[in-house]
Symmetry: C2
Subunit: 690 residues, 2 copies
Amino acid sequence: MDAAEQSLRQSLSEKSSSVESQGNAVRALKASRAGKPEIDAAIDLLNKLKLEKSAVEKQLQSTITSSGNGSLNREAFRQAVVNTLERRLFYIPSFKIYRGVAGLFDYGPPGCAVKSNVLSFWRQHFILEENMLEVDCPCVTPEVVLKASGHVDKFTDLMVKDEKTGTCYRADHLLKDYCTDKLEKDLTISAEKAAEFKDVLAVMEDYSPEELGAKLKEYGITAPDTKNPLSDPYPFNLMFQTSIGPSGLIPGYMRPETAQGIFVNFKDLYYYNGRKLPFAAAQIGQAFRNEISPRQGLLRVREFTLAEIEHFVDPENKSHPKFSDVSKLEFLMFPREEQMSGQSAKKLCIGEAVAKGTVNNETLGYFIGRVYLFLTRLGIDKERLRFRQHLANEMAHYAADCWDAEIESSYGWIECVGIADRSAYDLRAHSEKSGVALVAEEKYAEPKELEKLVINPVKKELGLAFKGNQKNVVESLEAMNEKEAMEMKASLESKGEVEFYVCTLGKNVIIKKNMVSISKEKKKEHQRVFTPSVIEPSFGIGRIIYCLYEHCFSTRPSKAGDEQLNVFRFPPLVAPIKCTVFPLVQNQQFEEATKVISKELTSVGISHKIDITGTSIGKRYARTDELGVPFAITVDSDTSVTIRERDSKDQVRVSLEEAASVVSSVAEGKMTWQDVWARFPHHSSAAADE
Amino acid sequence: MDAAEQSLRQSLSEKSSSVESQGNAVRALKASRAGKPEIDAAIDLLNKLKLEKSAVEKQLQSTITSSGNGSLNREAFRQAVVNTLERRLFYIPSFKIYRGVAGLFDYGPPGCAVKSNVLSFWRQHFILEENMLEVDCPCVTPEVVLKASGHVDKFTDLMVKDEKTGTCYRADHLLKDYCTDKLEKDLTISAEKAAEFKDVLAVMEDYSPEELGAKLKEYGITAPDTKNPLSDPYPFNLMFQTSIGPSGLIPGYMRPETAQGIFVNFKDLYYYNGRKLPFAAAQIGQAFRNEISPRQGLLRVREFTLAEIEHFVDPENKSHPKFSDVSKLEFLMFPREEQMSGQSAKKLCIGEAVAKGTVNNETLGYFIGRVYLFLTRLGIDKERLRFRQHLANEMAHYAADCWDAEIESSYGWIECVGIADRSAYDLRAHSEKSGVALVAEEKYAEPKELEKLVINPVKKELGLAFKGNQKNVVESLEAMNEKEAMEMKASLESKGEVEFYVCTLGKNVIIKKNMVSISKEKKKEHQRVFTPSVIEPSFGIGRIIYCLYEHCFSTRPSKAGDEQLNVFRFPPLVAPIKCTVFPLVQNQQFEEATKVISKELTSVGISHKIDITGTSIGKRYARTDELGVPFAITVDSDTSVTIRERDSKDQVRVSLEEAASVVSSVAEGKMTWQDVWARFPHHSSAAADE
């Protein structure tokens, strides 16, 4: 990469970041109900930044093209990675011989091995090191569970249908594509119109189905493939539906996440843990999402592997005993405030971020730190990993705080791990729906005297006053919190009656003094019963693996300089195969030596592959580099062998007996390649080698 | 167990085996269309054996009851196992707080750990040691794939519905329960009627829906729960159905097996393997089966983990290069012939079984041997494991040979692994449906001159003669095999015309000499193109794990003798936790030592649990035994600790520094407990200890 390109890339990265920050700022302004002038100003700034970014992009593109040094732009880079991945069967579009199904992919042999390594490390890093309780629940889930969790009602995208062919589209995608296209390509539109499109782009996420439909109509948007008219937008549930048992009477879904299986088992797990908090449960498994029109290759798929942790904690004490283990870590964080004020992500120390309240609590901070360690040990580039805090309007109303681990890829910054403090929402929802109390207790050392709010609606009086609506009024009265109740009590005592809004009736009623008694009573309590809060780190394993592929991919010229060779620089931990063994030529002597090494590698648990094809050693090295195999043993004598390290291409000579144990030590991280390099004689490869 | 009981159990085991063999013999006779007298004689023998078996069972039951030594019969034994498993969260009925769903179970923490250990060992034993190509395909599968495999049309059970409530039942279960009940409990039935019921039981598997329906009507069988009338039986497809994408236009199913994902990828995998045969691909993953009415707890479930291998091989050479590694193994085998002649399973050497042709080929024999090693290393009792060959009428028409690894449990002999030579069926089916040739080539060293059959239908003449049917006739002519074609050629030459059955028309037509030319031409061939055969070992992981629980479960009296304590005698390989660490009392000194040991255990990758509860060491041992933890370290000083082995309850004293490495060596099989016992001073537990 030459200096000009480097500087342009730097500038582009800054611009991208500014555009994104400003975009967030605009959304934040909308959410905060700022006045129209502020929003307009912000939108203008955003637009200006976008133009600048676009100019730099064009400049960069032309630099790359003119310099002709083979550097790749994002698209071309992605294409090179994806080609290599598909050609070497890291993944395969599923059911390819039947022309495939969008959004479904198979892992081929090296992909499977990478996935299995990532999951083993996940199990080691989280479940074993933290003593988590692992569970494994079915994918098939009865409707009642997902009704309680909210998925049946709310796990939807808005969809429109081509009225003639029935082809379906995501409504927001069509509107977004239309506005972006107009802004970018139509030079005839007026400033006023441009402002309108920008406004639409900024607020469309909050449109109701009706508003979205009206916009599609207003702009005359038709089906992109056929130009046929479109239906009105309607919510489409993203769960795969099925039915359990033969009668068709138990509706079910393929789970959209693994978390619910943990929540419904809370009671058993709490007892298993000796009724102590905090504790964490974890689950690795398949989840399903029937995307309307999958885009972005391996990043947005219809079936994927999730690894989820539900850490249950006393809402009054979210400290973490091991927080000091991670508190010194520094990495890129992108707090809400920085996003809203148009700044970029910056390096923060997680200990300070918790101390300053940027991160809500120690447990959340602890998991952010652990996730950072997990991802970087896998081989994710720490400069292209950031933790972004959700803006207020991105979070569910019940969430206390939420941070996404985002990894930069050729598709932009991708959410790969969500780390959310979901408060008591999920356990409460299942308690209510199932009637089984999902709670924890804290026994007091000594009984405590506590004041408790007591609300007693007088049903007889309420019945006389409100007839059929009595039940709604009673329930609303009982649902008052302490502040509301005490205000009502004061008003009733001073004025004798009070206006009271009953939300289930959608109107105000008049409550009189004789209709309700409100008091505070003192009670001796021996224990506190509460619904635990849950902190949920949720890992999209496939997304992490795809980003890892991009971060580990590189090219280097062949020795002859006539072609670019692909290399996956996987750390040994995730490399699909740790070692290849090449007999230099095919003879019985080398074959025997190869067998000895292979047997020893198997006995020390090092996955390896023997390549006895007759092609040159250089070609065989290239083949193994493309699979990301970190070490290659070449058998060129019956007493000693060479070991080659993939990234440096350095080789050492080691005795036949020691070869397997050296590779095993360095593959398992007990030794570094530098140690090996220092200890063994160096071997300079012959000209023919590479 | 006293001598009388032991001898009765021995006798019962023999009788059970005879009854089963004779049952198979009866089925075999039916399938071979033997005459009625032979079948009747066989049924009488079967009945006699059943009566004898029942008599021994009663005698055994009364011996157990009268001896009062706490031995458990099958049902009680199962209940004890299941109670322990549920109480210690090895498994949990799924969605329990919503009253569960039949046939769906969660694995709790220790169950998950056992499963994860079993799968890791499977991956090591099969995929890594055999260099198999692992793939990982989605569960969601489009209909076209399962149409080709035959599942859409044939993966069914016959079902009847309660006509009033809609409750569904498996039709064969109802008929079977009725006949068995009559035979066992109704003393008034005539000998003739009894013979009829026996006959029905023997042949009902081959009933058509109509025949089954007629029998249900004839016997007046009604819905067991309500006595309401039943619908006619109709086939119910056991796949969970869903629909892919938003339009509802791509019907899909949750896969009933993982194998199809491998078959559709054959071409890519063959290329990945350098176009060489044999090679094996493997997949571990969830599979689904929407059972009509799940019975048998963990053995018949609606969602389960399968581990499947598809070993592709040249049909003309099914030898296996590593067969000699297993050929000396001896274990219980139950060949077809022994089943049909009423003998029992017997110990055979797998090498001899292949040599004698009892097992069809070396590759099948190799996998049988490898499965034996896999299961016994997990802890399956080799005396309660047998390999049973499928009878001719049990196998699919295309299968060359098939053996099930059956494990004896309280439910009887359970099929846990199927090992089938499926010939070229699956690859051919997908080739035909997809139009993509799933074939392998063998390049000849020198071109071979081969005679090839050439059939040329003369379309003009055929068109004149058959008009609209011409296409059917042409296709039928082209589809003739060599024998048929040469016969037709001879007939046409001698008689000038010949009758020819066109199956797609369902009738004979007259083919004249001028309508087709048939010849044999010599051609030089450079390679042979063929569809590989596939040998498929398919493992039901959940069933293996359940049987393992039963085989490892035992009870022993507590030291005081006042209660029976449960012990899971898991080998360290599968034990959910390898080691527990107990500080004898709670003080800072012991706590520090515990931390040191825990850290070291983590660093050598030994899963462990620290139990700091204040209960007696004996209670803590009992708790850990019930989870099947093989080793316990008790911290009773700050310089040395004791290590206790679960099964012998023996304890040795080891220095604090060595403790973790000793446990790790013995847990990983690098050292036996005998070695440890010989090397370290023995520690005799104080009276309070247990």
